[in-house]
Assembly symmetry: C2
Homo-oligomer: 423 residues x 2
């Protein structure tokens, strides 16, 4: 479909115009209408499994000849199970409460004015992501349910899969009587085209990039539109003096190995020196047994001599892999200092039974989620009870941490009077 | 002080480093500590009236020789009354509730995790504004109370006044035991320096420009840091069929003339054709009596023959002056279409007793504040009961409409468990 694309700027303007038109309709459409589209889309995805797998096989073949890694090819692949998961995801979003129209707050002023703060959609959202084609369906579902029009730009390696998914979603949206511009996938893999879109201020209201460091840096540099980043997670667990060490070991193992390739997995373990002698040899053994490569500070290596040396670079690295760096610290204050210096303000945990330490850690660590006696892996929209998420924001403006339906909305004030004028 | 400035980049880095250091302290400082600084600053401003007026006279003299308009010189001038108002403003912010630490929401998950959504400061804020020196004190008060460090960059025409105010605030902040980096004024009027600051991603968390179109466009174009704009207000009042016309006239007059130079003043009046014959001649007469120049559509000019012709450009112009454009429309639907096409989504009002029209207008007009039977002039932090405001955001992300203490904060999640791990 790339060849059908007119000039870059015309195509960008046409995408944006359709999206804006759709957004205006979506802002006031009924919940039932949006749900009908989502449930229709789920059914259509299920019925189109064969077509989806066929289109996906083109991407897989192209990926193989381009020499993509096995991990990349795995992320790219649409299996029956993944197609069913996409469909289920769409139905699940239909079942969530509609955030639009909620009166977030309401109060009356002394002069009689009644002020309501009402949740409204943001408008037109540009979502830029990488390989996994299921993101196309997930992102479309969340943006549609929150009343926004979305322009989706997936990775070029998933081009055929994304276009096929988009075609199915587009038909379902129109069959439910909603404007087709509600969900659009960019029909070109031209990189420059993203730059053009990122300059469309006034036409696109928000850009959400999700992917590797390179992608996100490029988007932030290029964009003149507000960006909410889903950036890296250099997450820590601090095991304090007086922690329940059995609990600490379970939490640390979970945070490291349950799913090491995600942003809320632990990268660095900090251990209070008073419990290091007991805790470190044990946790190193268990991490190793789980296939984790351990790198430690000098004190750690005294207690676990076969651990590799952790360099200065290790403390600031998001491994996204079965690698763990361990540092022994004097106390909670040194732990907090380390986290401030090396962390990415994503997810950090303390395991402790000491109330003063817990309070200090919770107040002083400014991360999107701070955990006490629990695994960092819980920093997730589903686990927080939000039903679904578009990602974990590492920004502090508008949305921080799990970004779900509410975070895809804005608000307006509606003020009711009976003739008030300002003095 | 310009000559003291080291190289641009070094100076920017030093400002940012001091601000970050201060922000880390401010994030957890007690409310009492912040209030002590604010009250101390108010007293110091009062005591320093003579010095302030002396420094201000340098700006006024420079402004006169630079040929600034009388209006500009008026905005620039620090009178005893304005100095007292600055001091009062500082004390009033001290009296407001501290937003930091508020538990916005809290809930328990089925697995026992207790999740708290806690309000925290944003961090380091860069505020860029134009002539009025009192903004220096107002912005410093709000950012300090909300636990943020601020870097203030006022207009070069107010340089001496701003530096004098900053010096007083800085001393008061330090006398209260808070870090001096909490409030810094940029000690150079070099325009390029702003560009340097706007590239300091990671060091500055938010940029708030407040001023004319030119300033705001430049900041949005230059900045790689998130920006919350305080942009123009092309505000409408729609007088519907069946409105209480006496009430409508009072509301319209208030919206236009009570303070025409501000963003929430009405620029265009839309009148339902069914009441135009009765309403338009009357309101035109009253507007004229209040010194307002009236420009109208063809139908308006039939009813008020001496009104000038409103051109297409008029409908999209923020006059900020005693000028009003009037258009007669078929119904509420045409009024909404006009507002969508020409408005700036700032403040728009309907005067009506028809429930269907009101509901339609409120749902379809997506402005930061939509008023029913009240003046657009109420779109204001003080009038909303927020105590004070740093401005009116015309953006939809993070803060929309009046931006006060809450809008100067972010949040983090604090999650309490007793050993939970993710399955």
């Amino acid at each position: 479909m790339t060849e059908k694309t007119p000039s870059t700027k015309d195509y960008a303007q046409s995408l944006c115009a359709k999206a804006r038109e759709a957004a205006t309709v979506l802002a006031t459409v009924s919940t039932a209408g949006k749900n009908k589209a989502l449930i229709g889309a789920a059914e259509a995805i299920r019925k189109s499994a064969a077509v989806l797998k066929e289109e996906n096989s083109k991407d897989i073949a192209a990926g193989k000849s381009a020499g993509l890694s096995a991990a990349m090819l795995d992320r790219l692949e649409l299996t029956d199970k993944r197609i069913e998961a996409m469909a289920t995801g769409l139905s699940e979003v239909a079942a969530l409460a509609d955030p639009v129209g909620e009166i977030i707050k309401g109060w009356r002023r002394p002069n009689g004015l009644l002020i309501e703060k009402v949740r409204v959609p943001i408008g037109v959202i540009l979502m830029i992501y990488e390989s996994r084609p299921n993101v196309t369906a997930d992102a479309a579902a969340l943006t549609l349910k929150s009343g926004n029009a979305v322009i989706l730009r997936g990775g070029k390696e998933a081009y055929h899969s994304n276009m096929a998914i988009a075609g199915i979603l587009g038909k379902a949206v129109e069959a439910a009587g909603l404007p087709g511009g509600a969900v659009q996938v960019v029909a070109t893999t031209d990189r420059e085209f993203v730059s053009t879109l990122l300059k469309m201020t006034g036409h696109i209201d928000l850009v959400i990039p999700r992917g590797g460091k390179g992608l996100i840096k490029r988007v932030v540099e290029d964009s003149r539109i507000p960006v909410i980043k889903h950036y890296e997670g250099i997450c820590h667990t601090f095991v304090d003096n007086g922690a329940d060490l059995a609990m600490a070991a379970d939490i640390c193992l979970n945070a490291k190995v349950q799913r090491p390739g995600v942003c809320n997995a632990m990268e660095t373990l900090l251990v209070h020196e008073a419990v290091a002698g007991e805790f470190v040899p044990d946790i190193v053994r268990r991490m190793r047994a789980a296939g984790v490569e351990v790198r430690g500070c000098a004190k750690t290596r005294e207690l676990a001599p076969d651990a590799a040396e952790a360099t200065e670079e290790d403390w600031s690295t998001e491994y996204l892999d079965l690698i763990l760096s361990i540092k022994i610290v004097k106390d909670v204050s040194e732990a907090v200092k380390h986290i401030r210096k090396h962390g990415s303000a994503h997810s950090d945990a303390i395991v402790s039974n000491d109330h003063t330490s817990v309070e200090y850690f919770v107040n002083e660590v400014d991360s999107s989620a701070v955990f006490v006696n629990a695994s960092t892996r819980f920093n997730d929209g589903g686990e927080f009870g939000f039903g679904a998420e578009i990602g974990i924001s590492t920004d502090k403006l508008h949305a921080r941490g799990p970004m779900a339906l509410e975070e895809l909305t804005s608000y307006k004030y509606v003020v009711y009077g009976n003739g008030q004028v300002r003095r």
